[in-house]
């Protein structure tokens, strides 16, 4: 089991055999290159540069899949999920310095087409936009790290980045679905095999009454109707994105993102889940 901290969260990678040091180095390099592109918490990152002035930017290869998922989420949620919420998060106090102080000044994110144009390779920004890929970026990085394992001949693994999990191999991994209001309890158990499970909870990163990181791009404010979501999908990119999307729209809206299983807990305490949810829920 390899454990480390990266992109501000705890990672665990389980493999049948200990990883060779060259594989560990490759993993570290992959994470560093992702972080240096997408972290809005770094002064030297690409998204920090992009935020300084409008312009045209060549994005790294993973941007295509990432922005495709974002575009689907944006449309399915009627613009409530958007990569343009970076400034809204900053105003709420979730900024690079972690000031965690609500400025009290809340504005919606700019509409996609007014702020940016993406042609599949280059991004044009019409104003200084602060991209935030928090809805799906961690999931994508989990997929990319799993890709590094496969490229190095490792085909059985669990990559777990604190709630974004991808599994491959004959033995499923049993995952407790943590109760969003009581971390000592689970609302269910899932057996994950050869796929991804991503969880999102509005209390995951909360810093005050009603202040958390799941932001409605239309209001610039945290959402409140859903407490937590869990999604199983073939990739962690899609599962992570859907876990955010389900805070803002019903599952039926996301058919374009392919097959997935889901559960979510509403603020009323009720739990909804897909017909085909392969897991035990303690209802």
């Amino acid at each position: 089991m390899l454990e480390f901290e990266a992109i501000g969260t705890r990672w665990g990678i389980e493999t049948p055999e200990p990883l060779e040091s060259r594989v560990i180095t490759a993993i570290a390099d992959r994470i560093e290159s992702y972080d240096s592109a997408w972290s809005r918490f770094r002064d030297d990152s690409l998204v920090t540069h992009i935020a300084r002035a409008p312009g045209t930017w060549r994005l790294p290869a993973e941007a295509g899949a990432l922005l495709d998922v974002y575009r689907s989420l944006y449309e399915a949620t009627d613009a409530r999920v958007s990569p343009l919420v970076g400034h809204a998060l900053e105003r709420l106090g979730y900024d690079a310095a972690y000031s965690l102080r609500d400025s009290g000044h809340h504005t919606p994110a700019m509409p996609w087409g007014d702020a940016i144009a993406w042609d599949g390779a280059t991004l044009t920004t019409y104003s200084p936009v602060l991209l935030d890929v928090g809805a799906a970026g961690k999931g994508q990085l989990v997929d990319l790290v799993a890709g590094v394992l496969r490229e190095n001949g490792v085909h059985e693994y669990v990559v777990d980045a604190s709630g974004d999990i991808v599994h491959a191999g004959p033995q499923p991994t049993r995952v407790a679905l943590e109760h969003p209001l009581d971390a000592s309890k689970a609302i269910g158990v899932v057996e994950l095999a050869n796929g991804a499970l991503c969880a999102s909870a509005s209390n995951r990163r909360a810093w005050g009454a009603g202040l958390h990181h799941v932001i409605d791009a239309l209001t610039g404010l945290p959402t409140s109707n859903v407490l937590a979501t869990w999604v199983m999908a073939p990739s962690a990119l899609v599962a992570d994105g859907l876990a955010t999307g389900l805070f803002f729209a019903d599952a039926a809206r996301f058919e374009g993102l392919g097959p997935f299983q889901w559960a979510r807990m509403l603020s009323t305490g009720r739990v909804e889940h897909s017909d085909d949810f392969e897991g035990e829920l303690f209802l």
Binding site: G163, V190, A199
Partner: protein, 184 residues
């Protein structure tokens, strides 16, 4: 007393079900607002929920008087077929209103039946902005859905947890700092 009436013509064949919330709000002081609640019920939930729909023995109604609704007291059946004939698949709506000392309040219930089971329920409460009303109606709605019962993670045999317990290190440190400042 709740007096539901059908809002749409299509109804289950053997319908004579009372819509009877266990608790009804008693006060009504504020301007009208709506509390829309959408419950997407699926197989597992439908089993326990389906018990909330049950036939009763009231006389067959005319088209304009109430007879279709939800009986929250019938809790043990896991299938709608407690009477002779199966229900027709389809979507059924009913409105219910009840008098309170402060006036009349109402909810609209829409239920989708598929294969003799409840596939979907939508309840819109006209709560008049009264928080008590919201709460009671939420309880009523909750009564026909599933509330989760958490189990101790320590008692489960699991390899890992998916949720919110592990959050960003930098974030946690900053939060501690804020708490310290707030206490100073």
């Amino acid at each position: 007393m709740f007096s539901p009436f059908p809002a749409e013509s299509k109804r289950p064949k053997n319908s004579c079900v009372m819509l009877e919330p266990a608790t009804v709000p008693l006060r009504n002081e504020n301007p009208v607002t709506q509390l829309p609640v959408k419950i997407a019920l699926t197989t597992f939930a439908a089993l326990t929920l389906a018990g909330s729909l049950a036939a009763c023995s009231s006389p067959a109604p005319s088209d304009n008087t109430g007879d279709t609704g939800v009986d929250t007291d019938a809790g043990n059946n896991s299938n709608l077929s407690t009477s002779e004939e199966p229900y027709n698949d389809g979507t059924y709506s009913s409105s219910g209103s009840y008098d309170t000392p402060a006036g009349t309040e109402s909810i609209d219930v829409t239920i989708t039946l598929a294969g003799d089971k409840v596939a979907d329920v939508e309840v819109v409460g006209h709560d008049n902005g009264n928080p008590d009303v919201k709460r009671y109606q939420a309880e009523f709605i909750g009564g026909i859905s599933d509330i989760v019962v958490g189990k101790d993670i320590d008692e489960l045999s699991v390899d890992r947890v998916a949720g919110s317990s592990l959050s960003s290190t930098g974030f946690k440190a900053a939060l501690q700092n804020i708490k310290a400042q707030a206490l100073a």
